[in-house]
């Protein structure tokens, strides 16, 4: 297999005396869906926040590799730079959309850095230069393309907060994809979805994996989603990695069964 897209090595995060993530290592590959699972409080979201830069890890290395061997040390980067330069996009467990702004605006904001350059850091934008107009139009088309893919085009001009829950989840993924990521991190994307929406989500994630040349890292509670679409599963419990492998391997790992069901009594 080629070099991993993301290598997490010995990641540790302590809050005061509590060790939320304890020396966890794993790899994420391009065009793969990698799932991190584990019971509540296992440290999944904390690990996630370390990768996306919202927390500074106490210890460990997180390396992201672009093609042509360009490497980023994520643990040393500020959160917005991780998205801007290393091209890691994320969604949130409690959806964080710009609720008072329309669906289209949400997708335009995701292309902020690109558009800022195109507007010559606002100066060209004020005079509405042709190159800015072109960039603005292209950004709109890209937003439209993603709205089509997730199926919310008819709500383009509605405020994001007015969308039903399932559509908000999809919009958040579309918004993350509009930043042109190489790694897409999804924090419980299926939470709160009904079975039909869950099914649509699976299809969407597969299509992103197969067509957009990204690696997907997701945290999930919903085992059916995880087992069905993941190429690779990492199981955390009490901040430690207890299992690592494909769906079948993980499902049959006694450590995993114990963590999820407790000690099986005779």
């Amino acid at each position: 297999m080629s070099q991993p897209l993301l290598s997490v090595n010995n990641l540790t995060m302590r809050f005061g005396g509590l060790t939320a993530v304890d020396a966890v290592s794993f790899d994420v590959y391009r065009n793969h869906i990698t799932a991190v699972i584990g019971p509540n409080g296992a440290g999944k979201t904390t690990a996630f926040n370390c990768i996306t830069g919202f927390y500074k890890p106490t210890d460990g290395q997180i390396v992201l590799r672009h093609k042509y061997d360009k490497e980023f040390k994520l643990e040393e980067m500020e959160d917005f730079r991780i998205s801007q330069h290393a091209k890691v996009a994320r969604t949130f467990q409690n959806i964080r959309l710009f609720g008072g702004m329309t669906v289209l605006e949400n997708l335009m904001i995701a292309q902020h850095n690109h558009l800022m350059k195109a507007s010559a850091y606002t100066i060209g934008g004020i005079f509405n230069t042709p190159s800015y107009q072109r960039a603005q139009e292209a950004a709109k088309q890209k937003a439209l393309a993603w709205m089509d893919r997730v199926g919310i085009t008819d709500r383009a001009d509605d405020p994001a907060a007015a969308l039903p829950y399932g559509a908000q989840r999809k919009l958040e993924i579309a918004r993350a994809m509009c930043t042109d990521p190489v790694l897409l991190c999804l924090d419980e994307p299926a939470a709160g979805l009904n079975p039909k929406e869950s099914e649509e989500l699976n299809a969407l994630l597969r299509s992103i994996r197969d067509n957009d040349d990204v690696g997907i890292l997701l945290i999930e509670h919903d085992m059916s989603v995880v087992m069905e679409i993941s190429d690779h599963i990492i199981v955390l419990d009490y901040g430690r990695k207890i299992s690592d492998g494909n769906a079948t391997e993980v499902r049959n790992d006694p450590a995993v069964i114990k963590a999820y069901l407790g000690v099986v009594e005779e």
Binding site: F80, R96, T102, E105, A110, Q136
Partner: protein, 451 residues
């Protein structure tokens, strides 16, 4: 249930509540309306005057007021009435079409204003004052309304602009058009210097820190006598001229050059159009900025800062740009202020000014430029009306000064207007970009940042 039954069944409790309100009012008014401390020049220097009549009037007003409130406004039977239909005008301001019509009409009115029959010098001065506040409001709206950063020290940038103009023109003889961009630039620089360390703070903390900054600048202006003239301020600041033609009776003056009879009004009209032009410039620039990536990022920041960071937006720079651009317009307005008054002193830049501008923005609506116009007219014009209330002297005696009541009623108006419309006159927002049709976003959807 008939109206009569309802009234009689709730009559006694209503009286009871009114009596309670009156008792509370009695305690509130006793040490203020009821007893006055006056200086006499004795050993202790103070004696008390008892004003029982005034106290009784105050309590009586509360008693009657409470009954009137209960009869006409209060929720009946503990059930809150559904929100009343908004005033036609207020509601209409929120819709895109109406805004598109009212805006140009207002501009036409503003241009014609100096030539209307009732426009004497006083009215025109008031017009200049209102437009100055509209301009300041639009500047602060970028910071508070769009970026969601609560700035209670905006007047500091107004002061920087005013003193920049004053000092540059006095010491270097720079003309108005030379000073204007410099003043804006200096104010923006100060915006960045002050903003950089504090923009990480949460809303309320930011408010207090900016307030402290405003006060620091005022204290420095007050005490750095060699540079700023201290509390005496700086006077004899050169007045702006009409493309080099001064407004005076000289043969080379404006009137003589155009073959007009000299009148002091010419300068006022000129100043009026000057501030109008500056305000219109502010309007177009801020309206344009809002539709650019930077403006969308400001609003996104107000909606959810963490999401912004996850999308690769440099939130510090984005906030700083809002702060600096807002400050720049404050600087422009300040430099106009100095040119108009030909005199600046720290007194003009106290906290009341910041509070007034902030009230105009919040009352106008966080992202509606038209709302700011109306709230500036209401706040500045309404307060100015109070100056005219000389008849109150008949009630309160001759040493009563209605302009004292001006600020008192201003404070009261701020409270009442916020209670009436917590989200301002125009609470909806207009999308900055659209696919098929532009729909206004209702207030309930709009988030106001993390608080």
């Amino acid at each position: 249930m008939s109206l009569h039954d309802q009234t009689s069944s709730s009559f006694l409790p209503m009286i009871k509540r009114s009596v309670i309100a009156t008792i509370i009012a009695f305690f509130l008014f006793l040490p203020t309306l009821g007893i006055k401390t006056s200086a006499s020049g004795g050993v202790d220097g103070l004696f008390l005057t008892y004003r029982w009549l005034l106290l009784a009037i105050g309590c009586g007003l509360i008693f009657v007021g409470r009954i009137v409130y209960e009869l006409f406004w209060a929720p009946k039977d503990g059930v809150q009435k559904p929100a009343k239909a908004q005033f036609g005008l207020v509601k209409a301001l929120g819709s895109a079409k109406v805004a598109k019509t009212i805006g140009p009409l207002l501009l036409v009115f503003a241009v014609a204003f100096p030539f209307l029959p009732f426009s004497d010098r006083y009215i025109l001065d008031l017009g200049i004052l209102i437009i100055t506040y509209v301009m300041l409001g639009w500047g602060l709206q970028i910071v508070v309304g769009l970026a969601g950063l609560l700035d209670l020290g905006y007047v500091a940038f107004y002061a920087v602009g005013a003193y920049s103009y004053a000092l540059l023109s006095i010491h270097f003889g720079f003309g108005f058009w030379m000073c204007l961009p410099l003043a804006g630039l200096l104010a923006a620089t100060w915006g960045i210097i002050l903003g950089f360390p504090v923009l990480r703070l949460r809303g309320d903390y930011l408010a207090i820190v900016t307030l402290a900054f405003g006060e620091i600048i005022r204290i420095i202006l007050l005490n750095w006598r060699g540079f700023t003239g201290g509390s005496n301020g700086l006077s004899s600041i050169p007045r702006p001229s009409f493309f080099g033609l001064p407004f005076n009776q000289d043969p080379g003056g404006f009137a003589a050059t155009f073959g007009l009879e000299y009148s002091s009004m010419q300068r006022i009209v000129f100043l009026y159009f000057l501030i109008l032009a500056l305000a219109v410039f502010t309007f177009f620039v801020t309206a344009r900025l809002r539709r650019l990536p930077i403006g969308r990022a400001w609003e996104a920041l107000r909606e959810d800062e963490i999401a912004c960071r996850s999308l690769g937006i440099n939130t510090v720079n984005t906030k700083l740009s809002a702060f600096a651009i807002g400050a720049m317009f404050g600087g422009f307005a300040g430099s106009f202020f100095a040119a108009k008054q030909a005199f600046v002193s720290p007194e003009s830049f106290n906290f009341m000014e910041s509070a007034t501008i902030l009230a105009i923005v919040v009352l106008g609506g966080m992202s509606s430029q038209l709302g700011v116009v109306f709230s500036a007219i209401a706040m500045v014009g309404g307060v100015e009306l109070l100056r005219q209330l000389q008849f109150l002297k008949v009630i309160f005696g001759n040493d009563f000064d209605p302009s004292q009541l001006r600020l008192l009623l201003f404070g009261l108006a701020m409270v009442l207007m916020m209670l009436w419309r917590p989200r301002g006159l125009v609470s909806t927002r207009m999308p900055t970009v659209f696919l098929k049709d532009k729909k206004t976003v209702s207030a309930a959807m709009i988030s106001q940042g993390r608080g």
